[in-house]
């Protein structure tokens, strides 16, 4: 190949296909420096950044999924609690209603009893008073009637009447007609 680099007519002293060794040295050193710096300090860090980015995205998705699951779980829990609370409330309402009904019945019963008792007492008293009055009246009416009749007849009928029970019979007869 070196025969090509021979001067042709004294004009060309260089052959472009034959490398200059000084340039090979300079180029090798320069490219080695470039490779060292870029391959040691730059591109591995880029690869790390890419990886970190992938992790960040995947981690974000995972976190979002976890949060979603937690939210779903909480929702379920709240729903269950709500349903429970609703059942409880219904039960309490039912209980209260039943209680109220019971109390009402109790009060009513007591009131009825009380009123019955009051009425009974009144009736008894009335009956007792009536009996007293009747008894007194009977005596009085008998006396009055006998007195009146004695005046009219002019003689004392009192002993007679007492003896024969006439007044009593008469009054009994009046009572029975009155009762009719």
């Amino acid at each position: 190949m070196f025969f090509l680099s021979a001067p042709e007519g004294g004009e060309s002293t260089h052959n472009p296909i034959v490398p200059i060794w000084q340039e090979i040295v300079v180029g090798s050193v320069a490219f080695a420096v470039l490779c060292f710096v870029l391959m040691k300090f730059v591109f591995p860090r880029m690869e790390q950044t890419f990886q970190a980015r992938v992790d960040a995205i995947e981690g974000g998705i995972k976190r979002a999924e976890a949060a979603q699951a937690e939210a779903n779980q909480l929702l379920e829990q709240y729903r269950a609690q709500l349903a429970e609370a609703r059942t409880d409330a219904a039960k309490i309402r039912d209980d209260a209603r039943a209680d109220a009904e019971g109390i009402r019945q109790d009060i009513l019963a007591k009131a009825r009893e009380e009123s019955d008792r009051v009425i009974q007492a009144g009736k008894d008293q009335l009956a007792a008073e009536r009996a007293t009055i009747v008894r007194e009246l009977r005596t009085e009416v008998g006396t009055l009637a006998v007195d009146l009749a004695s005046r009219i007849v002019g003689e004392s009928l009192a002993d007679e009447a007492r003896r024969k029970g006439t007044v009593d019979r008469f009054l009994s007869g009046l009572e029975s007609t009155g009762a009719r």
Partner: protein
Amino acid sequence: MFGQANVLAAGQAAFPPSVEDFYLPSILPWGAHDSYWITKFTAMIWIAVGVLIIFFLATYRKPQLVPTKKQWFAESIYGFVRNNISVDMIGHAGVRFAPYFTTLFCFVLLTNAFAIIPLFQISPNSHIAFPAILAVISYLLFNYIGIRHHGFVKYFKHALIPPAPWYILPLLIPIEAFSTFIIRPFSLAVRLFANMFAGHMLLLVFTLGGFAMLNANAWLAPISVVSWVMTVALTLLEALVIILQAYVFTVLSASYIQGALAEEH
């Protein structure tokens, strides 16, 4: 670095351009023709390395989960090479090669881009030394990976013996050996070098051609203008080639590694 511009301004440029236009006088010592340590080319290489290191360190000093604009830009370069070259070509195992491929891609892209960046206006890759280094690294890399993955004997058996009838093998094995172990690194280096070399040569031809016509005869001025318009158009084409060659170099390296890792043909 301004030598070219001065030459153009002085109207001294020789036409047609020759290979010598790719070998500029060195910077230190100034103007020497046989010193290659500090030249425009090595300076451009160091500038490319410096720019890339500063860019990536600055944008990735404090990486955040939610990236800033700059961080996003740096990440999308890496993400492009990682997903669209490494993983696409090699599969999931390709992720571990992504840092090297990204470094390779950025380096080739930026050094290629010098071909059309004002004041640079020539790509270091138009000197074969630089593509050759990268090609040799790719070559060593895919062979090393293959040997480590399969073992020495199995790797060469795997690389050299295609699944073919035995009587065709005497023909196929030399072809395979030649193409895999000799042609691959050579073509990788030459493809990039030749593209950059030819691109610069084209731009030189049309730019210097315009000056040459103008100097030869003032009546040719309109044609000079056409020539310079062609230069602009070719610069756009060159932009395409710059990106394409950086991509191709990286994809082919990835493809060789994929081939070395593959279980079957």
